[in-house]
Symmetry: C2
Subunit: 763 residues, 2 copies
């Protein structure tokens, strides 16, 4: 007999999403979480809810697991903990970055096992030598907010789901008198020696454990607290301290601490909890996180998962996804649909909510703060996401984007550097990459009228950040108009990005009627010109004496002067003034030929070694889609009076760089930036220069897409005569009027209406 | 011209104490903080207010300073950071235990220097090789809440004072363009490698620094936060990280971090702040602590030290001491007076207040709690202090003692072990020594009617603690009636102390009408009999098979079966049943001879090596006053019908074991226990068995003493015909009535009245 009491609320939640949008589409079915888990997508297949604090996912890592004392380059593969090619799973952890090019997290590994207790993970070639287990993709189910796999060596079915702050585990055992749940506090992603600063475990009763893990990693001073509740009492428990340096013992010696001792602390702890299980018995675990305290973690747990109904939690999370996906209803072929909604999924993972149910969060100053009037977010991969993800949010998640900006402003307030975030996570700034692209995110929101935050404070924060003379060559940039390569590395990349960021500040200053600031920063926005070498036609490293670096290789990504992009690609990075740049480079015709050669050149093999985070598939000629400095490049043809080439290149990139398969991402998804590029480009427009209210038109890949905006208006995009070969746009109409320009504006979208592309197979 | 605006409030504060007690005595003059700083008193000479969270005092340590990789026995000398014999000072730190036999703390060393910047401390034999400095006692002033010394190598006058939560430094420089304040986060008392788990510094502006130090020491998982404000801006600053393992650097490399970089983190940090100074310029520092956060530390700082008036802060603290000392006004010769008020001073240092100005504190569960309706205390050296310090508090500080018990009950609530504190500090249990003497403190308060705490919860906590089968041999004790030496070490000491503690539980159960518990624990209180060996007349280690250990040395402190006391002394530890014990040991006559031999024996040299924490002066025969298990022994004669011998021994101990000089303490002061013994014994009575309402009478050393009680009554003790040789008590009257017993009761004291001893030179 069906248990209607349990099913009804789920059905209702699912119904409500459907009813809300007046149709019956199940869009979560198109989410393919495994996409990007093979090769260098750096995504993870596990369970999470939109912008969730918990990302509960399997770990297959072996390379960085051992404390081998030095950086292992293979570590890079395991930024998200899981590689599709691997044959074993070592456990499931609660925190993951999605698509990053650097690694951290992987907190609190849980592994269910049976048989003799093993407290070492074992090796991939000999999984039976430890607690890890073989698995096969045949038993693996990875869908929105649900992951399932059979742990073959232990004959346990593992299932995972989540709420915003709670990971919910369900392990189905056979009959056993030696079933174990291992809680490994040693494990972490990129786990070099002494990354664990301190860990702490408190066994509060026969089914409740709390504690924390403090690490010195990408987040230099990071602590994460947890509360863990088992669905049945364990019969006993214990732990192993694998630290070479034992903790201070003193009179603690009076206890036999390794078994059934409820207070455990040290640097390298693996704990276990033993059970007897009946045939088919499900042992469930609720595992809540908090940035503040174990008390807050427990409060989160009770608040979000009061019951033990795994299926309910799973379906509630899927309903959340369904609601988010329904913000864009689109039609296209199945692969495009899967690409599109998987991209929506990846775009709505980061930034992540970073505050407890009671609105408390840890600030950059390491103090406790309460988010008043906004939801606090973390995981700001801004060098990536300012380009398309935050502009996308300004269209489809404006309220969240404003809260993200409020979070960035709180970071600024708490910063002794008096700087907006560069790459921030978990109350830590890791300073990754270059620029100060928070200002782009803020300018884009202000210019587009998304101002649910303190715009005056925001402008001040942007200006103060941009005037920070101790930051990364900025004093030279301010004084000399460029970063000299003999004074600071990656000087060309920095000069170009600072100049763009400065233009962003000017745009918001203009909007906020601060002409003084507008003038100052429009001046600085011209600085790109100072690193342009007209003799070669490329941006080129310049020394403090004003001369250019003599020898440099325009194709080499590791070349001095540049970072995460070669001179060829970076030389095109003037999004704030494309027309001026094209003129500077010789005018439209010459520029189009130049751009064509970028896509058409055959790159010698030697250049692949350097581009570690993208696969060979991620490169078209010398166009590196897997790295963000290229993301605006295909749209540059529009400014050189060759829009048909933009259209052709965009469709080629959409077609070749994205597939809804494990190896379907051509490079790191970078916290949703790659995905946001796909979503926007496949709808036919792209924020070429965030901070401007214009979107450059490309060539849509969808048949149609309807955007349900937060202001209750809808904006519909239709591609008439769409088809695989019909990649050219003959005509565009906006609300029935032919559009005589190659862009649409933000207000045209946000006011609702219909954009129709008339497609053709010929330019 | 005198600045009356500044002087008036100080004068008023000092007046108010005098006016309150209707006389003009200045009692703080009798406080000699240097007492006990030579040899093994383990007190410190620095500044503190009564029960203050901050104990700001000089460090002279060299032995445990270096990270030499192994325990150095000399570390023991430096429990309080300072040894009177030393010739150099390495800096001033903010936290100290007073008189303990184990070491920790010494947080946040500040050292002012001049000349070329030196960031290593140097060595005692070559102080110029580092930042330490020679000093001489000639320039040293150590009085209540004020310490002054000339740092000779830098020609700087250092002055220290405090409030409850703020250390206030005043350094007088000569004219210099290279004056430095060093903030050393590496330094700590007993600072073995990796004791520092993590330290963090944030330079918030040109005169404000915040941060924290997290250690794994006696407090296993301890973190202390601070906020530090300079009276003038530093011109620049920097730091050195002396950790072998550098912290994760990543993109932090983009900064030059060692100079003027405001966010510092790592394991072994020494920071410095540079100044220009004029001739005679005073650079002042306010340094506030918090167990919770840097924000709370800053709040404490602003709350307690809003201004920069060093003298005001000093005098406010001295007025606090004056007020506390005035609770007992006494007359005696100068040395006795100095002994007495110095003992009061040492008795009112510990336990220490452990909560912020906003009542927030860190609990044993590592969560933040708010003390509702009580002041939260820490530093519970209970194996020592249950004997006389807490009973003394029940007379003269009952409200504080009740709050200390509330703090202990909060500890219990937060304990996953479900145990009351054993030896707790800073949200940590260090389990030091044996027994569960919290129950004695609680029973003593309940039996004496000092019940400003939840007595029902207290009884439950005591019972649960005493039934904890995993604790230190308790399961054997519960099942077999004694701790078998083959199952658990120090078995005799534990059996005897458990039996006493159990009697305490029975007493409070009786008072609270819980006859079931009374019966259970009175039964357990008899367990001392199970380790008594009638064939030798001593308590003796017993095995689980019921036989006694064959060979054992009754004089050896390191002997199996005992801890911090030899069999001779420990065999007399049945405070709950002295009469029964004396009968068991052969009756009064035999027992008196036995006891005489304790005091009169000449102890062979070989036994001194083992008693590490007491000087040879601390031993009379084989009576070891420097160790607590003896503290009731001199009063035992009373029960053997030989009160004149109690009188004689007490006066001998008072006379020989206490002097108001650096070498004046015969052993560790043990957080005030040694001092409380002095105060009570010198007034003629002693809590022989805390948990009873009786005080055993001895022989007063004062001429008179008036106790100003919290209930506004006074209790006066007078010794008629007092004199050095008049050590015997002919007669005692209470409120004019001759007392025909050898004790007074707590209610007789607390109801006010007069106790008169009639002294004589003959028994």
């Amino acid at each position: 007999m069906l248990n209607f009491k349990k099913i009804l609320p789920i059905v209702c939640i699912l119904c409500s999403a459907s009813i809300l949008y007046g149709q019956e589409q199940n869009l979560v079915q198109y989410i393919k979480p495994l996409t990007g888990t093979d090769k260098m997508g750096h995504t993870y297949p596990g369970a999470t809810v939109p912008f969730g604090s918990v990302q509960l996912s399997p770990e297959t890592d072996t390379q960085s697991y051992e404390l081998n004392g030095k950086y292992n380059k293979d570590v890079y593969k395991y930024c998200a903990g899981y590689q599709y090619q691997d044959k074993t799973i070592v456990g499931f952890t609660h925190t993951h970055f999605s698509g990053t090019g650097h690694s951290d997290l992987g907190d609190f590994l849980i592994m269910p096992t049976t048989g003799p207790l093993q407290l070492n993970p074992g090796t991939t070639d000999k999984p039976l030598s430890g607690f890890r287990s073989k698995f096969s993709h045949g038993t693996e189910v990875a869908v929105a907010n649900y992951y399932k796999v059979q742990l073959e060596d232990h004959d346990i079915q593992a299932e995972l789901t989540t709420t915003t702050r709670v990971g919910f585990h369900q392990y189905t055992f056979h009959k056993s008198d030696s079933a174990h749940i291992i809680l490994d506090l040693m494990y972490g992603i990129y786990n070099y020696p002494d990354k664990n600063v301190w860990t702490y475990l408190s066994v509060e009763n026969d089914s409740t454990v709390t504690g924390y893990r403090q690490t010195n990693g990408w987040g230099r001073t990071r602590t994460l607290y947890f509360a863990m509740v088992f669905s049945k009492p364990f019969k006993n428990y214990g732990y192993q301290d694998n630290s070479k340096k034992k903790v201070y013992r003193g009179f603690w010696r009076k206890f036999k601490q390794d078994q059934d001792f409820p207070e455990i602390a040290g640097q390298q702890i693996r704990a276990y909890f033993n059970f007897n299980t009946n045939e088919g018995e499900k042992v469930k675990i609720k595992f809540a996180l908090s940035p503040i305290s174990t008390a807050n973690a427990m409060n989160n747990l009770l608040n979000e998962t009061p019951d033990w109904d795994f299926d309910l939690i799973k379906k509630q999370g899927q309903a959340q996804w369904e609601k988010e996906l329904h913000k864009i209803e689109m039609q296209a072929d199945k692969e495009t649909k899967e690409n599109f909604y998987t991209a929506m999924y990846h775009a709505f993972i980061n930034p992540t909510i970073y505050m407890d149910a009671n609105s408390e969060y840890k600030g950059l100053d390491q103090n406790k703060h309460t988010a008043e009037g906004f939801t606090n977010y973390t995981t700001f991969s801004l060098w990536d996401t300012y380009r398309a993800l935050h502009p996308f949010f300004n269209i489809i998640q404006p309220r969240r984007n404003a809260d993200m900006i409020s979070s960035m402003l709180a970071h600024y307030e708490q910063s002794v550097h008096k700087m907006l975030p560069v790459w921030s996570n978990s109350a830590n700034e890791n300073w990754c990459m270059i620029g100060y692209h928070s200002v782009s995110v803020i300018a884009d929101a202000i210019v587009k009228g998304n101002t649910f935050f303190n715009t005056k404070a925001a402008l001040e924060a942007c200006v103060t950040t941009a005037r920070h003379r101790n930051y990364d060559g900025l004093s030279y940039y301010i004084d000399m108009g460029y970063v000299p390569e003999d004074k600071n590395s990656s000087s060309v990349s920095k000069t170009l990005e600072y100049a763009y960021d400065d233009w962003c500040i000017a745009q918001m200053a203009k909007k906020l009627n601060r002409n003084d600031i507008y003038v100052e920063f429009m001046q600085r926005a011209q600085n790109y010109k100072h690193v342009y070498d007209s003799s070669t036609g490329y941006m080129r490293p310049k020394f403090s004496n004003g001369t250019f670096k003599k020898d440099f290789d325009i194709l080499n990504t590791d070349e001095a002067g540049f970072i995460e992009g070669n001179a060829w690609n970076y030389s095109l990075y003037v999004p704030q003034a494309p027309k001026e740049m094209i003129d500077m480079m010789g005018g439209n015709k010459k520029f189009v030929r130049h751009l064509d050669s970028l896509f058409d050149v055959e790159l010698p093999d030697k250049y692949f070694a350097a581009t570690e985070d993208i696969t060979r598939d991620g490169i078209i000629g010398n166009y590196v889609h897997g790295n963000e400095p290229s993301h605006h490049i295909a749209y540059l043809y529009n400014w050189a009076d060759a829009p048909e080439k933009t259209q052709q290149r965009i469709r080629m990139i959409l077609d070749r760089m994205y597939h809804p398969t494990p190896d379907g991402l051509s490079g790191n998804d970078d916290c949703g930036q790659m995905s946001a590029w796909y979503i926007l480009s496949s709808m036919g427009f792209y924020p070429f220069a965030p901070g401007s209210d214009q979107y450059s038109l490309g060539s849509p890949a969808v048949e149609n897409a309807t955007l349900h905006l937060e202001n209750d208006k809808t904006f519909k995009i239709t591609a008439r005569n769409q088809g695989k070969k019909n990649i050219y746009v003959k005509k565009v109409t906006l609300n029935g009027q032919t559009l005589n320009r190659l862009f649409i504006t933000h207000s045209e979208i946000i006011n609702g209406g219909e954009l129709v592309f008339y497609m053709s197979s010929r330019p």
